[in-house]
């Protein structure tokens, strides 16, 4: 054995979890919501998924090749998630080139230009979504033509609104139960069926892929603020209903699947709480006082930017000391 002894640093045993397992776990967790979206919006959206995922994976391969990294990394699932998540935050009416351009932008610019998985500052799918918003403002707005199929009850003759959060033209607001199941709720492809998203989210929490603090504090902050912050006189009735806010739009998918993206969120528990509360504050402010009905995507992208700073300021307390960084001036 002498001439083939392996010399490596301790520890000599490693936990079985790997990046690949974590990533594919997220794909599994997204699957129920993706399946529901196909039910609601028809097989047309399957095309969006396929294009988006294929473009993301192809771009991943090209970038890996270009950067001289092992091509096998394209199988780690991270590009797959990016493609899948991007499709889920696009409007059902988005033309195919939107998903194509978005996926290429997400993987090539947001991820690989910054150094690949682990080095990106923003969540690739969300950053691509925001990019598309500016690049194709008309195509990317939720149109009134995509009427979701009903789970129960009778569909409206004509779709009356583009999003449950739309400030104008809203007729009768949806019931909480409708919102929870996505019954007749218009919106982005993958964001409407909250039950399916919650199911996946809880799975990720149980599997310890996701820190429960982020969804809890994110959603909790939105709930409390939309409840407490005064709504304007001309605001629709639902504006003061915190449940309606929590169950509408992209908050659930954002809180469970995007604000929890490991790469772009703080590493410490307390840092994550700061991060999540920052996201919640932004969503509440944008929805209440901003001109834009949503706000989830912007809030997460904005807080992603602060992640390195949060990691610097909010560190754990070092054992045997009072301050997090007792060694500051020791060098």
């Amino acid at each position: 054995m002498e001439n083939q002894l392996l010399v490596s640093s301790s520890p000599h045993v490693r936990d079985a979890d790997t990046i690949e397992k974590i990533m594919w776990c997220v794909v599994v967790a997204l699957a129920p919501a993706a399946a529901m979206s196909i039910y609601f919006f028809g097989f047309g959206v399957l095309k969006v998924y396929v294009i988006s995922i294929a473009a993301a994976e192809a771009t991943e391969l090209l970038c890996l090749r270009w950067r001289g990294k092992p091509l096998s990394r394209a199988a780690d699932g991270s590009a797959f998630i990016t493609g899948m998540l991007l499709a889920m935050v696009l409007p059902p009416s988005a033309p195919y080139y939107c998903s194509l351009v978005g996926a290429v932008f997400a993987v090539a610019v947001v991820k690989h230009a910054f150094g690949g998985l682990g080095c990106n500052i923003w969540n690739p799918a969300l950053a691509a979504r925001v990019f598309l918003q500016f690049a194709y403002p008309l195509r990317m707005s939720l149109s009134q033509w995509s009427v979701p199929r009903m789970l129960w009850g009778k569909a409206a003759e004509v779709a009356t609104m583009a999003s449950p959060l739309a400030k104008e033209g809203a007729a009768a607001p949806l019931s909480h139960l409708d919102l929870l199941f996505g019954n007749g709720v218009p919106g982005c492809i993958g964001e409407t069926c909250k039950v399916a998203l919650l199911l996946g989210g809880l799975y990720l929490i149980a599997r310890r892929v996701v820190d429960w603090r982020i969804p809890l504090f994110y959603i909790g902050t939105v709930f409390v603020l939309t409840w407490l912050l005064p709504a304007g006189h001309d605001a629709p009735a639902w504006a003061a209903d915190p449940f309606y806010h929590v169950l509408s739009g992209g908050l659930i998918i954002g809180a469970f699947f995007m604000a929890t993206d490991m790469v772009t969120t703080p590493v410490t528990r307390r840092g994550r709480i700061v991060f999540a509360m920052g996201c919640g504050l932004l969503v509440a402010l944008i929805r209440r006082y901003g001109g834009y009905p949503e706000g989830v995507a912007y809030s997460i992208i904005f807080m992603n930017t602060f992640t390195p700073l949060i990691d610097r300021w909010v560190c754990p307390r070092v054992y045997g000391s009072r301050t997090p960084r007792p060694a500051r001036r020791q060098a």
Binding site: E2, S9, S10, P11, G116, G118, C119, V267, Y319, A327
Partner: protein, 445 residues
Amino acid sequence: MAKTMTFPVGGVHPEEGKDRTSGLPIRVSEPPGEVAVLMAQHIGAPARPVVKKKDRVRKGQLVGEAQGFISANVHAPVSGAVKAVEERIYSVTGRRVPAVIIENDGQERWARGLNEPQDVESMEPARMVELVHECGVVGLGGATFPSHVKLSPPAETPIADVFVNGAECEPCATVDHRLMLEHTDDVVDGLKLIMRIVKAPNGYVGIERNKPDAIEAFRKALADEASIRVVALQVKYPQGAEQQLITAVTGREVPSQGGLPGDVGCLVHNVATTLAVRDAIRFRRPLVERALTVTGDGIENAGNFVERVGTSVAGILERQGLREGANQLILGGPMMGIAQGTADVPLVKGNNALLVLRGARIPPQRDCIHCGRCVEHCPLGLMPAELSIACEKQDWDAAVELNMLECKECGCCAYVCPAKRRIVHMIKFGKAELRLRKARAREGS
């Protein structure tokens, strides 16, 4: 049953791997034909050889003399003739250090005055410490810190709580478990002697819950002992690290930046060390042998053995048999043990386990994905992700600011890392570099 105690922050649960050897009684091995006794096998100054080639030595005779207070004597583990004084590899650092090579004459004759019962009842604490010093006792859990130093606490920090550390949290190691079962009363005796030396009112025996028979044995042995408590500890690595044990039981934290257990009134010795301290005081028996676990999936016949210090590791492997595909030799356990480049190293006082793994490989490393698991599991509240990156960049200011010097290299961070980052590797590298730079700076000035 009393409530199980543990430390509050971090820790991991690696596979225990103890079943194979925990039921096997300790066997005393045949002494080898030749031993190589290293002069530097403890923390502190290396000992100076006091014998030369062709000298005849008796068992227990001093062959290396401690240099200064933080240093330790080394003794001849066998009787025989000094064959040479030459360099051998020290398995902990991988460096060559002077060693006394002794050919065993098989006589097993102790040097005069050693290995004889001492009059302990009337003995002064100072004399006890002197005996511990004389007998070359060091921390046998792997730290190899000279025990007489620990037993001489400064007057400003009196010791209130003395611990026997029987946690044995390192996977695969079972020797402390066996010692606790086979020498329960001796361990208690050793603990009482230590309490007497430092005049401490409270004693504790801390044992992880996965050794219920040992807990039971001590509960029985200590049934009418008011000053000593048996503490059942939760099974969690690194429960047996000095700091974690103290915090688990007392709630106190050893101060950072070089604080010692004594600063919070505590003193910890592991099971084997407690026994060695007892042997030194009761019998004036120098530390010339130790018990260790030999195991791992690359070993044919695993077990717990008493071996002489200086025995060739290659010889032990040959005796126990290697399996096909064995490719990693580790002295110590899987979490903190040190992989060897050669089996041609002599056993030292600090070796508590000898592990041979089959089909070991270094998992490919990826960029950190900020999952935060290392931060969550670090028992010391460090940020291993950033720390390893600072070391990788050789940004020493940042590394020190991130408390690199606090790290105990327990391995929890690298164990949990899904990106398989070599965090501990980088931290070890960083510490070594920093030491080198400081030494150079001293020389330069």
